[in-house]
């Protein structure tokens, strides 16, 4: 017995329609628009010179590292507002032990990662076991961590900053992995060929690609693979989409969410490590508002605030838009005060666009 009937109501969906059902489409379209806009308004200002590109990519990379992890957490239906102050917290943990007690930098970096993982684990544990909204729980940790960092730092050093870390970090084997540059030789060749401009002293305009950009792209690819091609990825979507259904099907929702809180915290630690080793200093106020910037990048990237839908690639484009706009406004000479207005508006537009796309994707028949 065959019930096979050709469904007369199936039609071939046009390419645009199929593209519209991908979460990252909005962010990619936005990126193209932003590049066009600054290509016209800031085309000759140096924004798209080698130096300018590295500048905005570096801004994007740092935010993008956070956004990649936050995207996964948000797809699982949770927020982590504490990452902003976790960056300050991790930075201080990295900087103080070498400066005050002569620790090797690799050890303090390790401690920072471990401490953040622990805080992330606590965040996750509290959210999962109390059933409180993660927004509230991590808002609490946002303030607690900032207060703890300030109090401890002032208690130990008498100040709220720690500087002069370069002295200790330059020789450490760990530094090149976070603050180094890569592709120095190809960059020199490109400069010889005239693709990349040279400075007055004859050296290439940039000496290499900051390693943070490699971290950013690497993490995005890894998280994309995790989401799309692993069992854990399926659990992430299910935990955010319909936690109860997931639980009924035997998905360990609690474990999935806690793991993602730890991963987000580790991303904050990575952000802090890069920032502290590049600048050579830590400040208790570092990372302020980064939790919201990461959410903006993720939302521009097509991830739903309610969870269950989104992508890490989208978050990457969200972070790219963020970097280009921030540096673009600087290069075009527009007052940088306008940056936040622009990003806020961009996010609202992105949310409207994304809810339209989702309604389209979910339209039944």
């Amino acid at each position: 017995m065959s019930l096979e009937v050709k469904d007369e109501r199936v039609r071939t969906v046009p390419l645009l329609g199929r593209l519209l059902s991908r979460p990252e489409l909005g962010a990619i379209a936005g990126t193209v628009l932003i590049f066009l806009f600054f290509g016209i308004t800031a085309g000759h200002s140096g924004l798209f010179s080698a130096k300018g590109i590295v500048n905005f990519l570096e801004v994007s990379a740092q935010l993008g590292i956070l956004a990649a992890a936050v995207a996964l957490l948000m797809i699982a239906g949770e927020f982590d507002l504490s990452i902003g102050s976790m960056i300050g917290f991790a930075g201080i943990i990295i900087a103080i032990p070498p400066i005050m007690w002569d620790w090797p930098v690799w050890a303090s970096v390790l401690l920072a990662f471990a401490s953040c993982a622990f805080v992330g684990y606590l965040n996750g544990l509290i959210v999962v076991h109390t059933g409180l909204p993660s927004f509230i729980v991590t808002l609490g940790s946002l303030f607690m961590l900032r207060g703890l960092t300030l109090g401890v730092t002032r208690g130990i050093t008498g100040r709220t900053q720690a500087s002069g870390l370069h002295e200790y970090s330059t020789g450490d084997w760990i530094t090149p992995f976070f603050a180094g540059q890569v592709f120095k030789t190809p960059i020199r060749w490109l400069a010889e060929l005239g693709v990349i401009g040279k400075r007055a002293d004859g050296l290439p305009a940039i000496s290499g690609i900051p390693v943070s950009i490699i971290w950013w792209i690497g993490l995005t690819l890894f998280f994309t693979w995790l989401l799309m091609r692993t069992r854990f990825g399926n659990w992430i979507f299910a935990s955010g989409g319909e936690a109860n259904a997931a639980r009924n099907m035997g998905v360990p929702v609690a474990r999935t969410k806690i793991t993602l809180f730890v991963m987000t915290a580790l991303a904050a630690a990575l952000f802090a490590t890069i920032q502290v080793l590049v600048t050579g200093s830590a400040d208790t106020l570092r990372g302020n508002l980064k939790e919201f910037e990461a959410i903006i990048a993720v939302v521009i990237g097509g991830t739903l605030l309610t969870g269950g839908y989104g992508s890490a690639i989208g978050a990457m484009f969200g972070a790219l838009i963020f970097g280009v706009v921030q540096m673009g406004i600087f290069y075009t000479g527009i007052d940088t005060d306008w940056f936040k207005l622009f990003m806020g508006a961009m996010m609202v537009v992105a949310v409207l666009f994304n809810s339209y796309v989702r309604a389209r994707a979910m339209r039944s028949r």
Partner: protein
């Protein structure tokens, strides 16, 4: 006669002072559809929860394939081949049909040194399993949210069968569906029966139950009001046995009286 796949013997369940179930016996055999009928509050939900391992009974015995057993958890029950399809269906609307089909039991493929989710296998299998049951998908990657209510129900049932369910417990599978959608689900129940699966069909819709059912057990206020073979009872008798039956007759009388009075 075949040994029942699962059997409850004089099971009782109390919640504090409330007697949710009292001395209820129930079983299902391979290739049989046993309908559990009853009004709201008759104890159907409690009975399902006992059968699916959510509650353990306070008195009575559970037998699986003729041997005494205990259900330690819903997972344990599932491992024993008894799958419950709840009304919420345990589906995630934003995820694709294939991802839902394998939710919690994702197929893995070894590449290099990593185990990845074999999405191609998932798509192929979900598509094939559903089309074998007469559900033609446009695309296994379409979100479940785009399926109709009947299709979702069928997806949940097909999933349970694919993963080796010998007993299917269906909780009101047709209650929220239109006529056509309900008939699709009823067809699937008949197909499952043909595969030798024992189906426990919970409903308060006698019309749907009578079409596919082989035996009927009525629950009333936590007690069994009898089990009947299909040839022992007519649809109307069944309707009357249900709480609604007598009340409907009374209601009819009252309406007649009212309209007579008006004239």
């Amino acid at each position: 006669m075949d040994t029942p796949l699962v059997e409850l013997k004089s099971v009782s369940k109390y919640f504090g002072s409330v007697i949710a179930l009292k001395d209820v016996s129930f079983d299902v055999r391979p290739g049989e559809v046993h309908c559990l009928l009853g009004d709201n509050g008759a104890g159907k939900s409690t009975l399902i929860k006992v059968l699916s391992g959510v509650h353990s009974p306070d008195e009575g015995e559970i037998l699986v394939g003729g041997t005494h057993t205990r259900f330690n958890s819903p997972k344990d029950t599932l491992d024993k081949g008894i799958a419950t399809v709840y009304q919420d269906l345990a589906l995630v609307p934003l995820m694709s049909v294939a991802r839902n089909f394998f939710l919690g039991r994702e197929p893995l493929k070894k590449t290099w040194f990593l185990h990845q989710f074999d999405i191609e296998y998932a798509n192929r299998t979900a598509y094939k399993e559903l089309s074998d049951m007469g559900i033609q998908l446009r695309n296994p990657e379409q979100p479940v949210g785009t399926l109709s209510g009947g299709e979702r129900q069928c997806l949940a049932i097909a999933r349970a069968i694919h993963f080796g369910a010998k007993v299917l417990i269906l909780d009101e599978p047709t209650s929220a569906l239109g006529v056509h959608q309900a008939s699709v689900v009823l067809k699937l129940i008949v197909q499952s029966k043909a595969r030798g699966i024992g189906v426990i069909f919970i409903s308060h819709n006698v019309h749907h139950a009578y079409v596919v059912g082989d035996r009927f057990t009525l629950l009333k206020r936590g007690k069994s009001a009898g089990t009947y073979q299909k040839n022992e009872i007519s649809r109307d008798q069944l309707l009357n046995l249900m709480a609604g039956g007598k009340e409907l007759v009374d209601l009819e009388q009252e309406i007649i009286k009212l309209s007579n009075g008006k004239r």
